[in-house]
């Protein structure tokens, strides 16, 4: 298997990480060597193996559905890179 530049561009779009030509070439090289290493898994037959879903075989604890914290508005917005009053500010999305 080989990951080409077109695939890199596609993954970069899905990842929301912009890449220029130079970075794409470097990434293609790195990813190809990493996937070559990963391909080792194909040596194993796993048709009848159940995938692992959790290392701990316990059932999730349930709790009552109630509000435990309040008035976090200020804290939630505190680290925003750009805000206006109680809102996050983003570039315009609707014309």
């Amino acid at each position: 298997m080989s990951i080409d530049l077109k695939t890199i561009k596609h993954i970069s779009k899905l990842s929301r990480i912009s890449v220029d030509e130079k970075k794409a070439e470097k990434l293609a090289g790195d990813l190809n060597s990493i996937f070559e290493f990963i391909e080792k898994l194909n040596e194993l037959k796993t048709d009848n193996v159940e995938p692992l879903t959790s290392v701990a075989e316990t059932t999730l604890k349930l709790r009552s559905d109630e509000v435990k914290s309040k008035n976090l508005r200020e804290q939630v917005i505190k680290n925003s890179p750009k805000e206006n009053e109680d809102y996050f500010v983003v570039p315009k999305v609707i014309e």
Partner: protein, 485 residues
């Protein structure tokens, strides 16, 4: 009294409890040593003035019943600390100041410890050498040109150099045990679900665990006792009966069955590591343990499995860094452009690489071939351990395939960097506890570690084995304070 910073955590606790030492004296000593040790670059954020104030407050009305009374401590910068910057070693969180505290650190402060600052680490804990940190690499106190291991490299460096009596790190594939091994210190990765993940910057949620990094096994047991609690704020936290690890610590391991997995004898393993392992087996026998050969047949598949599972979870976890809610933002022409520029400028190369791998293995058409396949192999790896534990109580292996390497030596070859974690990764995949203890030196005089892997929730047992072996090994770290002018 012995130089304050030369004392172990247990000694400091005892001296404070006996009123031979005040919290202010202890805190001042560690702050002063940290200040003289800037060259190591172990800290990302220092909080010395606050620490000294808190120590003063503690001394005014000392509660000596606490487990960590007035003990100063720096922690890995992956734990959210309320009102103190938490960066995860990344530019994207350079200005992030949490409004809440992680459960693990809160447990530590509840027992009387005092925060001194935040320790350097690989960006989002992705690395084995601390070289992916946005805040620069960390130096190993053993030797100027050596990496301290990673991702908890600031933590291992700070404990080995005695800038903090003890610390906590996180371990997703070896990030506590490998740096402990590289610096001649002790590091425990607890069972998955033992320590709450609440308030820890997430990397790979099914693998991440916090754990203690210490100068000796007794200190390690004491901190584990403090940090391991059931927490309803982490849905994967497990409500099991926790031991009082330090109180129940014993060197009596007579008759314990310790397994030696033949698959850990990997191709190209240096003779020094092989010899160390043999020596470890002898030490274990000397302590009265019974040695049993075992097989973990899927060991060789652990790293390829890890490099699908961990990046997949990382790509999903790191989707939250979008330049909107918190963290760094790069302006863009529109929303998508802003996202793409923010993430391209905010994340470093290794993090971007892993997000891309993760996105790819989860993407349409590839999910079954990669992610599902990896989860099936992960099951086989866990089954290997389950089978082995029908015959043995614990497993003994080397911690790493080599001693600490040079800064810059592996940065251009991601796969050779990943191979560092070959002995530690299977433990995370199976959710088991593992401890690395210093066990000897290589020809260059660099420390080497042995790993003891336990059954799930059996931390007490591996701590006991480590405690017994530690006495036989009688390891001494060669640190000459070269960085202090």
């Amino acid at each position: 009294m012995l130089d304050i910073t030369k004392q172990s955590l247990s000694e400091l606790v005892e001296n404070i409890k006996n009123k031979k030492l005040s919290s202010s004296e202890a805190t001042k000593a560690f702050v002063e040593r940290s200040e003289k040790s800037k060259e190591l670059n172990a800290y990302i954020t220092e909080d010395y003035a606050n620490a000294l104030n808190k120590a003063k407050t503690f001394d005014e009305k000392p509660n000596l019943d606490l487990k960590l009374p007035g003990i100063p401590m720096a922690v890995k910068d992956l734990f959210c600390t309320k009102d103190l910057r938490t960066t995860a070693g990344s530019k994207i969180l350079n200005n992030f100041v949490p409004t809440y505290e992680s459960t693990v650190t809160q447990n530590i402060w509840n027992e009387g410890a005092i925060l001194m600052g935040k320790l350097n680490c690989d960006e989002f804990a992705m690395g084995s050498s601390n070289e992916t940190s946005f805040f620069g690499n960390v130096q190993n106190p053993i030797d100027k040109n050596l990496v301290p291991g990673g991702s908890s490299g600031g933590s291992s460096s700070a404990v080995a150099a005695q800038l903090t009596p003890i610390t906590i790190g996180t371990d997703t594939g070896g990030s506590i045990r490998q740096p402990a091994s590289f610096t001649g210190t002790v590091g425990l990765k607890p069972t998955y679900g033992s320590c709450s993940r609440y308030g820890i910057v997430a990397f790979a949620s099914s693998l991440d665990q916090a754990g203690p990094m210490a100068q000796n096994v007794k200190d390690c047991a004491l901190l584990q006792e403090v940090i391991s609690t059931y927490d309803e704020k982490d849905s994967t936290s497990i409500d099991f009966k926790r031991n009082e690890y330090s109180k129940e610590l014993t060197k009596d391991i007579k008759g314990k069955k310790i397994g030696i997995p033949k698959e850990y004898r990997v191709d190209g393993m240096p003779k020094e590591i092989e010899d160390l392992w043999k020596k470890g087996i002898e030490y274990a026998k000397d302590c009265g343990a019974e040695i049993i050969d075992i097989s973990l047949p899927h060991t060789n598949y652990a790293l390829p499995t890890y490099y699908i599972v961990a990046p997949a979870e990382a790509s999903s976890n790191l989707a939250r860094y979008d330049g909107v809610k918190y963290g760094f933002r790069a302006e863009g022409e529109n929303l998508i452009d802003m996202y793409e520029k923010t993430r391209s400028e905010g994340f470093g190369a290794e993090v971007q690489r892993r997000i891309m791998i993760g996105t790819y293995v989860l993407s349409s058409g590839y999910y079954d071939a990669y992610y599902l396949k990896a989860q099936k192999v992960r099951k086989l790896i866990k089954n290997d351990f389950d089978d082995a534990y029908k015959k043995v109580d614990a497993i003994l292996t080397p911690s790493t395939p080599s001693s600490a390497f040079k800064i810059g030596e592996k940065t251009n070859d991601p796969v050779s960097m990943y191979l560092n974690d070959i002995f530690t990764v299977p433990v995370n995949l199976a959710g088991l506890p593992g401890i690395s203890i210093p066990a000897g030196h290589d020809a260059k005089g660099y420390p080497l570690g042995l790993q003891i892997i336990g059954k799930a929730f059996d931390e007490q047992n591996i701590l006991n084995i480590a405690y017994a072996m530690e006495e036989k090994i009688n390891f001494k770290n060669n640190i000459n304070d070269w960085w202090i002018k």
